[in-house]
């Protein structure tokens, strides 16, 4: 999605490629989904909070329209035996689709031993059925603690 955003923003003269990369980095450090955050940054840069609201509406509109129409149209077909067979197969494809993304995430993020320890901790807690919020708060706290201890030395 990032290259598409960069291309359109450049065409419109709304933000340079470098600005978008900056927003991308910031979006990784703010709550929420990256694509939505980037669009909100651009809107805010151009027109303040009203611009941010406009770009946000823009980025959620396709989901709202397409998914609503699709779900309403599809609601009856799920009971069809052929569709059920197709879906049984798709069910096996979904985790297979996500695993390569996780491998790439791990490759990108496992930069040092501390990250590996955090990863082990997060996976352990996730498998113990801890809530995602608890895991994030704990890992965030541990990283902060490490940063704080280092600063003291």
């Amino acid at each position: 999605m990032l290259p598409l955003i960069q291309k359109i923003m450049k065409q419109r003269g709304w933000a340079t490629e470098k600005e978008i990369l900056n927003y991308y980095a910031l979006s990784q450090m703010t709550p929420g989904i990256i694509a939505v955050n980037i669009s909100t940054f651009v809107g805010y840069k151009l027109k303040g909070w009203s611009g941010a609201i406009c770009t946000m509406i823009g980025i959620i509109a396709p989901s709202l329209i397409v998914i609503t129409l699709l779900a309403l149209g599809l609601s009856k077909i799920w009971t069809d035996p052929i569709v059920q067979n197709a879906f049984a197969s798709v069910q096996l494809m979904v985790p297979a689709l996500i695993l390569p993304i996780i491998v790439k995430m791990v490759k990108d993020r496992a930069t040092d031993r501390f990250c590996l320890v955090l990863m082990g901790l997060a996976l352990f807690l996730a498998l113990l059925n801890c809530s995602p919020v608890e895991i994030l708060l704990l890992c965030g706290f541990v990283s902060f603690l490490r940063f704080y201890m280092r600063g003291k030395k």
């Binding site: 569709v83 879906f87 069910q91 996500i98 695993l99 994030l136 965030g140």
Partner: protein
């Protein structure tokens, strides 16, 4: 009120989901276990549909969940709940942008969160695989399901196609298998 419950559930997800759209998946999985709004199988449906339609995955998931739970208005309310914390967060952030950018401790915290997010999604996938095999296969068909799954894994690691290609392929193979 279902709308208020939907709004706040997704507000929480919007506030804590950090990263790409997949980051919302562990939260939705937890939601499916805590409420009777949708099942794990519905969640897999949502992921498959979201991967095959335009729009960011997380937003699609919010619309679809809300829609399944409380109709068209539910979809709207859940989606707005999801994006509101992002809007507020960024407006506040832009006011303090310079200080925030240079703040080393914010950077330090998020450096710890990113590996955690990856593993949360991994944990979800592992449990998802377990659930899928429990639900869709009997002892006789377990081998076949496992074989299909490994074949799909081979495809997704080997080829860099768009997700929709993989999903359509799986759907066609599944439908054909049913016809045999």
């Amino acid at each position: 009120m279902i709308y208020i419950a939907l709004f706040f559930s997704f507000f929480k997800i919007g506030l804590f989901a950090i990263g790409g759209g997949l980051a919302t998946v562990p939260f939705l999985f937890q939601l499916s276990e805590e409420t009777n709004w949708f099942s794990t199988s519905d969640l897999v449906k949502m992921i498959a549909i979201s991967e095959s339609t335009p729009g960011p995955l997380g937003v699609n998931m919010a619309t679809y969940t809300g829609l399944q739970t409380a109709g068209v208005w539910g979809g709207l309310v859940a989606t707005l709940g999801l994006v509101l914390p992002m809007l507020l967060g960024i407006i506040i952030l832009c006011h303090f942008l310079k200080r925030f950018k240079e703040s080393e401790w914010v950077e330090a915290i998020f450096q710890g969160l990113r590996p955690a997010v990856a593993m949360m999604i991994f944990g979800f996938v592992l449990r998802l695989i377990k659930t899928i095999f429990e639900h869709t296969s009997t002892p006789e068909t377990f081998g076949l399901s496992l074989g299909i799954f490994l074949f799909y894994l081979f495809l997704t690691f080997k080829f860099k196609w768009h997700p929709i290609t993989f999903i359509v392929l799986a759907a066609i193979l599944g439908a054909l298998k049913g016809l045999l």
